[in-house]
Amino acid sequence: MKLTLKIWRQKSAGTQGKFIKYEIDNISEDTSFLEMLDQLNVELEEKGEEPVHFDHDCREGICGTCSLYINGHPHGPHQTTTCQLHMRSFKDGDTITIEPWRAKAFPIIKDLVVDRSAFDRIIQSGGYISVNTGGTPDANEIPIPKDVASEAMDAASCIGCGACVAACKNASAMLFVSAKVAHLGKLPQGEVERHARVQRMVAQMDEEGFGACTNTGACAAECPKEISLTNIALMNRHYFNASFSH
């Protein structure tokens, strides 16, 4: 495959960036998107140019490190992570525009790499369960209905990649925050702290400068882990309940 890439290049946080066009050839359709960028970087290094910086880690769709806004969608045309996107999703001769996540709360560090530590600070504000460590409890000590366990597990599958923020026209982080609120709040171990947790996490989310939700559903449509909008409704219920009755 022969492709034209338009990639956002930016030297550092404070400098102006711009799109640079690259031509690349000999790309197999079995290549993953990130491997295609690796191939480009090898070519750039051979020419003595600086390689394109982008985030990646596990490359098996579970860590949430890879990002990239590809042809108008976070993680590209399919509902996967970028590392699970393959070049067979594109046609020979295509032009692919690659941009970083765009959000005030996710400042660009370099090229396509953004600082997502705002998510870490939201987790630090309440995304945990305060229990003292001790001996391993018996697995059946606290009975949890299967449907509750499944719903909590579905919410827990959020990998914190930030595609929801990238996709949302308001750069809202509500799908991410609500997934954490639902995942911890549904289980009996986390339920006891749910009021304080949702208030602290929402306060931190606002502090970071994320936008408000307008229920477009773009976040859930683009989420590689298919986190549902019902989590946002649940977060709203928990938050209003916590604010008005606790």
Binding site: V202, G211, T216, F240, S243
Partner: protein, 225 residues
């Protein structure tokens, strides 16, 4: 009180206010429509004029109308504030941006739709509401009651093609605004469940089609007759 201010000024709290004011305005649309439909009654405007007199003199209705004015102002000002904040949260936009699957055009353009409705509202208030309260409207007597002939003002306006078209455009914008707004209000309140959300969506779509269509039908029929 600090807890209340903290709650209502958070992103979730602001959305709560948008949702509740929006739902109140949805109820208002039904009441207003019921009144408007009397314009189509073939009685030279008697039912409509007596109704208009009642709506501007009944103490309970008058009190409710002040709540309504406040609701409109809050809904409009807060949406402007939220829109500005949301644009700031994005910062520099994308070069290439495509609509995600299942995302409606309405949901991404609520601000633009709201602005069209706002322009419509200002003109609408000037033409009818202001005239009814402070304008020099001729009086009309039905048996033992004398009331302002608002029907004459409305009929004159609806005799102008440009005004009818302006009205229809306003109602189309309202339809698209409601298409997203109706179901969105319930989602913000935290009401999203497999059991009843499909019903909310169907009712919302029906409401957004039927109510603006009936509103628009009145000036169209009056212009044609």
């Amino acid at each position: 009180m600090s807890w209340l201010i903290k709650t209502l000024t958070s992103t979730l709290g602001r959305k709560l206010i948008m949702s509740l004011t929006g739902l109140f305005l949805i109820i208002f649309l039904l009441v207003h429509l019921a009144g408007n439909l009397q314009l189509l009654k073939d009685d030279g405007g008697m039912a409509f004029n007596i109704y208009a007199k009642f709506m501007t003199s009944n103490p309970l209705i008058k009190t409710t109308s002040y709540i309504l004015y406040a609701t409109f102002i809050i809904h409009i000002l807060l949406s402007a504030l939220l829109t500005i904040n949301n644009l700031r949260a994005r910062g520099a936009g994308y070069k290439v941006n495509r609509l995600s699957e299942g995302v409606t055009w309405s949901s991404k353009n609520m601000g633009i739709l709201g602005t069209i409705i706002f322009i419509f509202l200002v003109a609408h208030l000037k033409h009818f509401w202001y005239e009814m309260h402070w304008g020099g409207i001729p009086m009309v007597t039905y048996e033992d009651v004398t009331v302002k002939d608002l029907y004459l003002v409305v009929a004159t306006a609806y005799g102008e093609l440009w005004y009818v078209l302006f009205y229809v455009v306003g109602m189309i914008a309202l339809g698209f605004h409601l298409y997203h707004g109706f179901q969105s209000a319930f989602q913000t309140l935290g009401l999203n469940h497999l059991k009843y959300t499909p019903a909310i969506k169907v009712v919302g779509i029906g409401f957004s089609l039927i109510v603006p269509a009936l509103y628009a039908l009145i000036p169209l029929l009056m212009y044609l007759s």
